[in-house]
Symmetry: C2
Subunit: 503 residues, 2 copies
Amino acid sequence: MSGQDMNGQDFGPKRCGLVGGGVIGAGWAARFVLNGRDAVLYDPSPDARARAEAVLGMARAAWAGLLPGALPPEGRLHIAATLEEALEGADFVQESLPEIQTLKCDVLERIDALLPAAVPIASSTSGLLPTRLQARLRHPERFVVGHPFNPVYLLPLVEICGGARTSEDTKARVAAFYRAIGMQVLHVRKEVDGFIADRLLEALWREGLWLIEEGVATTAELDDAIRYGAGLRWSFMGTFLTYRLAGGDAGMRHFLAQFGPALQLPWTRLVAPELTDALIDRIAGQSDEQAGGMTVRALERLRDEALVKVIRALATVGPQGYAAGATLNRFAARRADDAQGGQPGADGIPASWHGVVPPEWIDYNGHMTEHRYLQVFGEATDHILDAIGAGPDHVAAGQSFYTVETHLRHLGQALCGMAIMVRTRVLDADGKRLHLFHELTAAGDDAPLATAEQMLIHVDTARARSAPIPQAVAGAIAALRTAHSALPVPEGAGRAIAMPRRS
Amino acid sequence: MSGQDMNGQDFGPKRCGLVGGGVIGAGWAARFVLNGRDAVLYDPSPDARARAEAVLGMARAAWAGLLPGALPPEGRLHIAATLEEALEGADFVQESLPEIQTLKCDVLERIDALLPAAVPIASSTSGLLPTRLQARLRHPERFVVGHPFNPVYLLPLVEICGGARTSEDTKARVAAFYRAIGMQVLHVRKEVDGFIADRLLEALWREGLWLIEEGVATTAELDDAIRYGAGLRWSFMGTFLTYRLAGGDAGMRHFLAQFGPALQLPWTRLVAPELTDALIDRIAGQSDEQAGGMTVRALERLRDEALVKVIRALATVGPQGYAAGATLNRFAARRADDAQGGQPGADGIPASWHGVVPPEWIDYNGHMTEHRYLQVFGEATDHILDAIGAGPDHVAAGQSFYTVETHLRHLGQALCGMAIMVRTRVLDADGKRLHLFHELTAAGDDAPLATAEQMLIHVDTARARSAPIPQAVAGAIAALRTAHSALPVPEGAGRAIAMPRRS
């Protein structure tokens, strides 16, 4: 495993062995496959294949919305019949067995015996200590905890925790791999039961159980107490930065002075209540009522849609995105060079846009809705503007190109999940105007699904009026125009809209 | 106070007295003012005015992003010199003093003595019991806890908790008022220290303090453990619904069977650690490092931008929005009748679309981005299709109109928060085609900012080929066309895109 190769295109393992295919193991498999790795999964359950395929389907849909077109060609998902088959040729192993220490130790010992010493083994354990899990391994230095969160294919957090005998090299290599597949690594500096995140979640969960036990709140009310309040903040800012703000300009020290005394109050009941049959009935009944008849699958789809939209929203906060949005943007930047599509067509013109049609772009007719065509064409125009030196720096300096007219023609249909690309020609230009012609095709196909002819005018944005195109930009336009001038005038350029009987 | 008037436009109090103007009191004042209520605030601090005005400025900016154009004309913010002045004429009082029971009881007694018996008094206390706070009031029945979360002007959650002597009428009226100003009410059914949300937050916070004390994690690491993982889910789904999903198809009962045993583990600590000077120094130092030199004001702006974007993202989940997004959509629907726009123009054609330009429609040039014009025109076309009997039922029956060409012209700029409308004319039609012309203007203005000429073709969607327009639809088209035919042919119709020297 290379961590990060020098060419920036090829990170880490190619074939991941997965041991355990529950919600977490299947989520890992989906994340690996979507990132172009083969995933070979062993789980004795007869449901393993159906679950892994269902989770991969959800993951695929989620990423089509999260970063359409950015992922490499998928790896293969293979369900292995035996542990040996899952490990054969693997250059990375992720263990996601039930949280039973003896079971994990036994299986890890078998995995260790079967694998070459250089192959890292990561455990998804949410609370067991790595020093104990690695105790009987021949090669304990290659063992590390890599603890993800559900859904593994969408939530970026992964806690890395080494045991007493884990090597620094293992931690660094596994962290580099997780980052390469879009995750945010939190190194746990001190081995502790439950690591960091689950201890915090468990404290909240235990207090919630008491509030149900004492009849203060139902499961739905406890959830509302979070999701309409602190939960909104927690999607991008944790408790400590939030409380710093609550302290006002005097910051955290003031907050501690103000709210520290409340720590003496016997508010919280961190020891969990006993899970009697009556309490289990109460919680399960309230949970059924809260779900309102929605299946787990329907709730999962709702969750994924919300996660995708929240993460995408955070990607637009500030100049670089914030929290999970910044993680996504870094991942997208690393992927940009590798993305599929983008090969020049028969006319030799490179792609000015390429990507995959996400599900929310589809309208009631089952096709990409019309304004998304114009979005794609607008982004293709931005790409051309960037290429001729009229990108963000030009705009920041007070000059820009504004579109004054667009003529769109729909010749075919882009469908959900279709890889599409745009190629753009400079038809004409003068001292203030730029005349472009875009063709949108399925990737690797030359027949246009739609075309857009656009006239742009160069403006001084502060004075809000047209202005001459600067010489350097004009030179770049002229070069493109010359390169494109050998091609025939595209069919459909220069036309007006009219009824056929009038044409 | 009327709770909800019959005309649906006028909810609750007109003049809110505020006692205490810290982060919470100033946040309440901003929410009241933005919702068209006068806020009269008393706080002995010399900073009260500056703080209230600063918070109102942030709130105004946030709501311009959250629901541009939906709020009524602002109320007035007034800083009172005395408690008496703050209460004069108030028909609602919100107390937000420091969390000191004797102080609150003394001031509440004075407020109670000064106010007519019918005026509700709500306390922002985050943990003191209403039965104790109302003990010395002449009219304890009008006292209730209304506990909000920071920033009060953005987070929808408010906990309502009555004491032993609070009337049901007071709880219902205060809840109706809070809902009318965009909040999500959580009724706390049993009086308990800290109510519901803060008990959950406090449990997590106490566990976090232990992890710092024991050197397991820093403030930044604790925050990362939340915001890259569970915090993303918590912005729309609480712990209990999330764990139901983790249980898979077997739901909450299975989850309890699987993870219940972990409750026996001594993961979480019973009580908070003692806040020694050394621990305070460590936390404050880590917090400074985590803030990375950003001021509280800068962090607040970042927080508000993220909250606005997350809540708006949640407003697009599912058909009605989810969690705080659904709350926002309900609030927007209640405000929609009051919003400007939608009147016919000088040509007598009614609006086929009207609304306000939201901030995410603005591009790097500071104007509405081009594909949003086409989105608006496309929705206007859908409105026309609905009007001629070619709406969803027509589509469900296997027939639809597909757009084959669009000619967009940009003549002006739609800006953030601008109320805009579209009027649509039927220019022409034949047995299979429909030729439309849209004009987009600022509401109440006849000068177009953009026009779109569109040719649509009627299709049999199953056979994916053109099909005759059914007679009833054709009749409706003919009627519209006749009504519009008296108007002159719109300037710009029937034109091709070309360089001026060629035209």
